[in-house]
Amino acid sequence: MVYFKKHDIIVYSLVLAVLIASFFIWGSALGDTGDFAIISINGHEEMRLPLSVDAEKTVEGFAGLTCTVSIKDGAASVTEADCPDKLCVDHSPISRSGESIVCLPARITVTISSSEGSTIDGVAR
């Protein structure tokens, strides 16, 4: 019984190649400039903000953590949050359909959508 054989390198290289390829698919899966920023909490759509109007909204998510989402120049970003890691605040503004900013501690997602139609929120679990 061995955990590693010489030829395993081939499998691992392929996985790495697929991973690199996935970043390209990732880039192309994102569509053109979107129309709405959909703010969801715990997977449920809370509000949608048109990207054409500058706005600022503070939403309260899981465990009372809040995120302030602002729309400026057709792009959405999280400008303030009281979550511990602040990853959402560090995320650059998003404007293309399919892009999203996730604040995991607060369970808040901001997703750009290009039409009135629902995207991820359409599926119930």
Binding site: F4, V15, V18, I25, T119
Partner: protein, 169 residues
């Protein structure tokens, strides 16, 4: 194979389905590490992999699919079950081929299986939910590889201890 010889195999497969079902359940109780659906350790694939290595692909497919249907109908939910089935089919095909080639360790086969499982699962959810979910692709590939490595190592260890008691078919 004579009918008489099938009994140990049937018993083993039954035990493996039960073990996989329990592992599935235990895993559903664990809090999600990342908040991203589909990112998990995949412990329920240990029995699948054990059967693949001792009884062959048909048995592995049976254990895997039976487990997913059982878990789907009881606690995982129908949509998760459909995504899982898609992932399991892709993963089983790749693992069977890699195992047939024979040059790879169980760990590598398992890593490939984990990655393929997540890709198949994501492909199914793309069809049902839409393209934006591809956002998770890179994360799911990495998590599939890590989970696959873990499952592979555990399976290798388990197999070492079970070799004497499992009849290989």
């Amino acid at each position: 194979m004579k009918l008489k010889d099938k009994t140990p195999t049937l018993a083993l497969l039954g035990i493996m389905v039960a073990a996989a079902f329990i592992l599935s359940y235990l895993e559903s109780l664990l809090p999600s590490i990342s908040g991203i659906p589909g990112v998990k350790a995949g412990l329920a694939n240990i029995p699948t992999l054990l059967v693949l290595y001792t009884q062959g692909p048909a048995g592995a497919a049976l254990v895997s699919i039976a487990r997913i249907i059982l878990a789907g109908l009881t606690f995982n939910g129908l949509s998760a079950m459909l995504f899982s089935l898609a992932g399991a089919v892709v993963s089983l095909i790749f693992m069977t081929v890699l195992k047939k080639i024979g040059a790879f360790s169980i760990t590598a086969v398992s890593v490939a299986g984990g990655v393929c499982h997540n890709i198949g699962q994501l492909a199914a959810s793309c069809v049902m939910i839409g393209m934006p979910i591809l956002y998770y692709l890179p994360v799911l590939i990495v998590s599939g590889a890590v989970a696959g490595a873990l499952v592979g190592v555990i399976t290798t260890l388990t197999l070492k201890h079970l070799r004497s008691s499992i009849k290989e078919g």
